[in-house]
């Protein structure tokens, strides 16, 4: 990689305030305006980024940008050959699509709501509700672990079915309350086996208060069983999840 490569943070319509926070590799972030769009970029020299620090830099740049304008985050770790490449292969050919997306997201932010079960409590509920689980468990307790290997897998499978069912139901409850208060909602992949749901919402800035009340209401309904992590407002990461065509002009 040459020293002239640029790291790309995101794309916005012109009018973002200058970014004061330092970007990846502590470089200055600048706005590259072209074809009626602005790309936030900075110079990058290293071939490898140390993830923990640079993820934070990426995040902070977008966080600051989103305070003054609507920005489409580019996926973390995206480096382009040069400013010219940003202009000619990112902004120009995708201009209409990006502008349409930006208009759609204008004045809107993302909120993330994750729910996590308390695993022992969840397991107790499953055993209470399922005679099959309770019975198989009791039977397996009398058997040495090695001997009961396939039965243990079977038991775990039964439990997993119940947990999946519970997840679907709790996701439905959450969406029923919050989807009407949002412009769009997405179910994201859950991250661990005691997770209940992982939801992303696109919300109008001036609808935040109502959405927040919805989350509180939901917390009242689910709070005994599910720990909620509610994070936002964020730039619309989940709603900028678009793959652009750049089949031409990859690096030689």
């Amino acid at each position: 990689m040459t020293q002239s490569a640029v790291y790309v943070y995101g794309v916005a319509l012109p009018g973002c305030k200058p970014i004061s926070t330092r970007g990846v590799e502590a470089s200055r972030v600048r706005a590259l305006e072209h074809a009626g769009l602005t790309a936030l970029v900075s110079d990058i020299g290293a071939e490898q980024l140390a993830a923990a620090r640079e993820v934070r830099a990426h995040w902070r740049v977008l966080d600051e940008a989103s305070e003054s304008c609507t920005i489409l985050p580019v996926r973390f770790g995206t480096v382009m050959e040069s400013e010219e490449a940003v202009r000619v292969t990112l902004l120009e050919p995708n201009g209409e699509r990006l502008k349409a997306l930006l208009r759609e997201l204008d004045g809107r932010v993302q909120l993330v709501l994750k729910g996590d079960y308390d695993e022992p409590q969840l397991m107790r509920d499953v055993v209470r509700q399922s005679a099959a689980v309770a019975e198989l468990r009791d039977r397996l307790r009398a058997v040495p672990a090695e001997a009961g290997y396939y039965d243990r897998i079977r038991l775990g499978e039964l439990v997993a079915d119940h947990v999946a069912h519970r997840r679907a139901e709790d996701t439905r409850i959450a969406l029923e309350t919050l989807e009407p208060l949002s412009v769009a909602a997405r179910e994201e992949q859950i991250g661990q086996s005691d997770a209940a749901f992982n939801l992303a919402f696109l919300v109008d800035r001036d609808g935040l208060e109502r959405f927040n009340q919805g989350v509180r209401k939901l917390a009242g309904e689910l709070g005994e069983r599910i720990a909620l992590r509610y994070v936002g407002p964020l730039p619309p990461y989940s709603f900028a999840d678009v793959e652009l065509d750049t089949e031409a002009a990859a690096w030689a």
Binding site: A51, V74, G156
Partner: protein
Amino acid sequence: MAVAATPRGYIERPRPSGLADVIDVILDKGLVIDAYVRVSLIGIEILTIDARIVIASVDTYLRFAEAVNRLDIAHDDTTHGLPELMESITESGSSGKTKGVLEGAKESLFGGDDDNDDDDDKQQSQSRSRSRSRASSRSGSSSSRSRSGSSSSRSSRSRKKSS
């Protein structure tokens, strides 16, 4: 950066110290300009793989089996039996800690938008001392994973995912 919550949840507004809770969003979402993704990222592969291994696997089944088996034997056992997963270790810290602060939710979420980021470090240590345990322990384990993680190329990962 206050924390507000249900009896056993918490709600927060993300400054950089809230990054642990949205790291999956940041790593996985956004415009993809695939041909140009060339930077390799130390440790990132590990973080994102972790988020994918839990769904249906024999390992998951065995863990669930173990979890139901353990119920009566160790009733108040706070360890989760999911040592592989970075997010599972801190339940005891987050439960029961946050009762009664629900009213702070609005301010902590939507107030302070124009805060300067200069006080990140302070915020971070504050949130630690509140034992918002999930977030802080997760970021802790993330960085240790990063160090031990293999480096792998970003582009191969995005290909894999889009297929």
